[in-house]
Amino acid sequence: MTSGLQLEPAETATTVRVQDGRTLSTDGPFVEMKEALAGYLVFEADDLDAAIELAGRIPAARLGGAVEVRPITEW
């Protein structure tokens, strides 16, 4: 095994999209995730606002897709 992380439950998720240069965050997971999970990135951020700002810079969020922000369970 080379990598593994446990995510917090889906109800802690926030979905980030960028439309016309505005970063929009909404409550809950990205529903289409099941069909189209394109990858994941692990970031360290001070709080959710910082994480949303990072997510907004990911191209997928700007190109009509969405980035789901989910906390990782800390042990």
Partner: protein
């Protein structure tokens, strides 16, 4: 005494809780400590009298309780992951101390866009508004267990996802402020259609925000709007029946509150406010004058319509235009709108058709509105209109 306690509770809860969350970094822990302090107050104040600075007393008591608990159970600090472990020293009861006001931090946390709107509403009423979970559940007609679960989930998310406890930085402020105002307005609207308690809660929240953000025109605009609408509360119902603005007994309007609403509106306008709440407040202020300046009302609705692109606003513009140019002109606007599932589209159409003496289509429109309406007072008004048509 019960009344004094209740008043202190309403006035101080939000402020005390906000300061405790800032201090302890944990919603549940802060809420428990606040509850304990209020319980001690309920026990002691009737005997010893209410302290001069009730807020500072409550906060010091709650902090000392929280510190006691940390002392008793050191492991708790690790479990709750306190952001900033407090120094375990007793705080002096300084009755002249001003307590830190962190209610703004609290309201921005509760109305963070990462929380569902219904969770934002529940959390704001619980924390800042000082309502109990059963009270909120009753107000929104959901089972108590559902509301409790909603609050637990929201608090869990704040903690797990790391929603910050702070006033957002300037580049985020406009969007975040809009979310806060939307929550307060939603609470007010839920109260406006009959549940009086919620309107008073929304007004209290609006006043607190206006005091905390005196230079934000939309905050003042929202307060003005709520004051002006609420001033007509006593005239809006005759028994169980809804009374439309034109038929209301003006002696039942609260003249002082209308004057206050207009003062707040003037402040918003002086701050160069031209946002949607300010415009709505200006419209409401014009509605409170006699004779009503319909051309000006129609123009403001036009402005609001450009700003929001909302068909509901267009519907209101149609009503004003009908007053200026006649029902035919109003009907022309109404018939362009795509709002087939909106009861007020049909009740407005019905009224315009009735004034044009087109009885058949008017009857159909009233029936369509009735089919969409669930509110008993509104249904009874529509039924009366339908009967009058014969």
């Amino acid at each position: 005494m019960v009344a004094i306690l209740e008043q202190a509770f309403r006035e101080q809860w939000g402020r005390v809780l906000a300061a405790l969350i800032g201090f302890l970094g944990d919603f549940d822990f802060a809420e428990e400590a606040a509850q304990e302090a209020f319980a001690i107050a309920a026990d002691r104040w009737p005997r010893d009298g209410v302290p001069a600075n009730a807020g500072a007393w409550l906060l010091a008591t709650a902090r000392n309780r929280a510190i006691d608990r940390i002392r008793r159970d050191r492991a708790l600090a690790a479990k709750t992951q306190l952001l900033d472990p407090p120094q375990p020293t007793e705080l002096e009861m300084d009755e002249t101390a001003t307590i830190p006001d962190e209610r703004l931090e609290l309201v921005f946390t509760c109305c963070h866009p990462a929380l569902a709107t219904e969770a934002q509403v529940a959390l704001t009423l619980r924390t800042l508004g000082g309502l109990t979970t059963p009270e909120i559940a009753r107000a929104f007609l959901v089972p108590e267990a559902t509301m409790a679960q909603r609050l637990v989930r929201a608090k869990r998310k704040i903690k797990a996802a790391g929603i910050p406890f702070r006033v957002p930085p300037a580049h985020l402020l406009p969007d975040r402020l809009a979310a806060v105002l939307a929550v307060v307005y939603l609470i007010f609207n839920a109260g406006y259609s009959g549940r009086g308690g919620l309107a008073a809660d929304a007004l209290r929240l609006g006043r607190a925000l206006a005091e905390l953000m005196p230079d934000e025109p939309e905050v003042q605009g929202l307060l003005a709007l709520m004051l002006l609408h609420d001033a007509r509360r006593a005239a809006r119902f005759r028994g169980e029946d809804l009374v439309l603005l034109a038929d209301q007994d003006r002696s039942l309007w609260d003249a002082d509150q209308i004057a206050e609403g207009r003062r707040v509106l003037d402040r918003a306008l002086a701050l160069r406010g031209r946002g949607s709440y300010v415009i709505q407040a200006a419209i409401s202020s014009l509605h409170a004058s006699e004779p009503r300046d319909w051309p000006q009302i129609a123009a403001l609705y036009g402005e609001l319509s450009r700003l929001t692109g909302s068909p509901v606003v267009e519907l209101n513009r149609a009503i004003a235009v009908a007053e200026v140019e006649g029902p035919e002109a109003g009907l022309a606007i109404v018939d362009r709108l795509q709002l087939d599932d909106y009861q007020y589209l049909h009740s407005t159409r019905a009224d315009l058709l009735r004034r044009l003496d087109r009885k058949g289509p008017a009857r159909d429109a009233y029936r369509r509105a009735l089919a969409l309406s669930e509110d008993p007072a509104e249904r009874s008004l529509l039924e009366r209109r339908l009967t009058e048509l014969g």
